[in-house]
């Protein structure tokens, strides 16, 4: 009986060049209405398989805790991981260049026709759909929490506490992240130490 290879478990690809990074992130940005995150997961994890779901959740957590626009941080991380600073710049440029031109064009066009009721309605409908896209991205991360060293139950308690603090109590995000983040990381450290000393 032969050992199963790594590839048998998880097919993993990588960007082939800086141009590939630029074009891939450009394509992501152009599909992302109301934020690019939902598209990042679908394109990079499910289609291109540059990242596994676990890697995506980890990278996204880091992109989220570091200051700055999240998706831009993620692009810099993925680009930098593969091709250093050139890769980071390629991914960043891909994410920003065409969308900037497009958004300026749209804004100028809207300024021309004026703010109509139909336009407001369309923005409202697209807003509701993008809310669903973002929530589905969160729900898709649940399986990754099952392998979390803190255990699934602790993760759920942490997630519910965060939701209550941010969405219901509307506390500033920095307070929530700077209190729960360190507590949770210290707990994860303890769980990792315990698992590894056995």
């Amino acid at each position: 009986m032969t050992e199963p290879t790594l590839e048998a478990h998880e097919v993993r690809n990588a960007p082939s060049s800086n141009t590939d990074l630029f074009l891939s992130f450009n394509w992501l940005a152009l599909q992302g209405f109301g934020g690019v995150l939902a598209v990042v997961q679908r394109e990079l994890v499910e289609k291109k398989k540059w990242l596994t779901l676990e890697e995506f959740v980890e990278d996204w957590s880091v992109a989220q805790i570091l200051p700055g626009p999240n998706v831009i941080n993620l692009a810099i991380m993925i680009g930098g991981k593969h091709f250093g600073w050139r890769g980071a710049l390629s991914a960043l440029a891909g994410l920003l260049f065409v969308p900037t031109l497009l958004v300026l064009f749209i804004a100028s066009a809207i300024a021309g026709v004026g703010d109509t009721q139909a336009m407001q309605g369309a923005l409202r409908g697209m807003g509701a759909v993008s809310a669903g896209l973002i929530m589905a991205t969160g729900i898709k991360m649940l399986p990754a929490l099952k392998t979390n060293p803190m255990g699934f139950l602790t993760c759920c308690i942490l997630a519910i506490t965060t939701f209550l603090a941010v969405a219901i109590l509307r506390l500033p995000l920095s307070w929530v992240l700077l209190t729960l983040g360190p507590l949770s990381s210290i707990w994860a450290w303890r769980c990792l130490s315990r698992n590894e000393s056995v």
């Binding site: 880091v62 807003g127 983040g181 507590l183 949770s184």
Partner: protein, 201 residues
């Protein structure tokens, strides 16, 4: 709106966005209240309507959410052009508006991008360290929760359920469709826009 901007004002604009960059924990949109305070209330470089429509258009347009800052920079540049005497040519006004885009976007991106690049290069090299793994594992449930919270906050103020329930239903149905199927996201967004135009939601 017409305003006067000298070189020093452009530098102040740049420095303000530089200082916001490292405060943008959880995404650029978290700095929006502070941008409003500075650009609209304090400096009067942007009207309130320009502020809110910049956020709305960036939400509805493709691309990262941070594009709302590019739009605000564009509007500041346009306002500065219409404040000039004699009135500048359209090409000159567009140049000033693009200057606004570059100044604001470079300010919000450069500090955080530099920090992200160097810290994640370090973290990737040391990814087996227990501290790095604990940091990532500890944050994962928080991040998942923040995504659901963002979806929740995007579906309105949650104070008028008679008006908003069709919107919540659409968001919930979208969540299930995206979670369970591979339906193209642009198709879903188009349906959402159509339902909005037809005043169904």
């Amino acid at each position: 709106m017409s305003i006067a901007m000298n070189a020093q004002d452009w530098v102040s604009l740049f420095l303000h966005f530089i200082s916001l960059s490292l405060l943008a924990v959880g995404g650029a949109i978290t700095t929006a209240p502070d941008i409003h305070r500075y650009l609209v209330d304090e400096q009067h470089w942007l009207t309130h309507y320009q502020f809110t429509s910049s956020v709305a258009i960036a939400q509805g347009a493709p691309g990262p959410n941070v594009m709302f800052i590019a739009l605000m920079g564009w509007n500041v540049g346009m306002n500065a052009a219409s404040g000039m005497t004699p009135e500048p040519t359209l090409a000159y006004a567009v140049m000033l508006a693009l200057l606004g885009v570059v100044v604001t976007m470079a300010g919000i991106i450069i500090p955080s991008a530099t920090l992200t690049f160097f810290s994640t290069q370090w973290a990737h090299k040391n990814r087996e360290l227990r501290g790095v793994r604990a940091f990532k594992a500890g944050l994962a449930p928080l991040v998942m929760s923040l995504l659901i919270a963002t979806g929740w906050l995007l579906t309105g103020d949650h104070d008028n359920y008679i008006r908003d329930w069709p919107m919540w239903l659409l968001a919930a149905v979208t969540t299930v469709i995206v979670w369970r199927t591979k339906t193209h996201l642009l198709l879903l967004l188009s349906i959402g826009a159509l339902l909005g135009v037809l005043k169904i939601i």
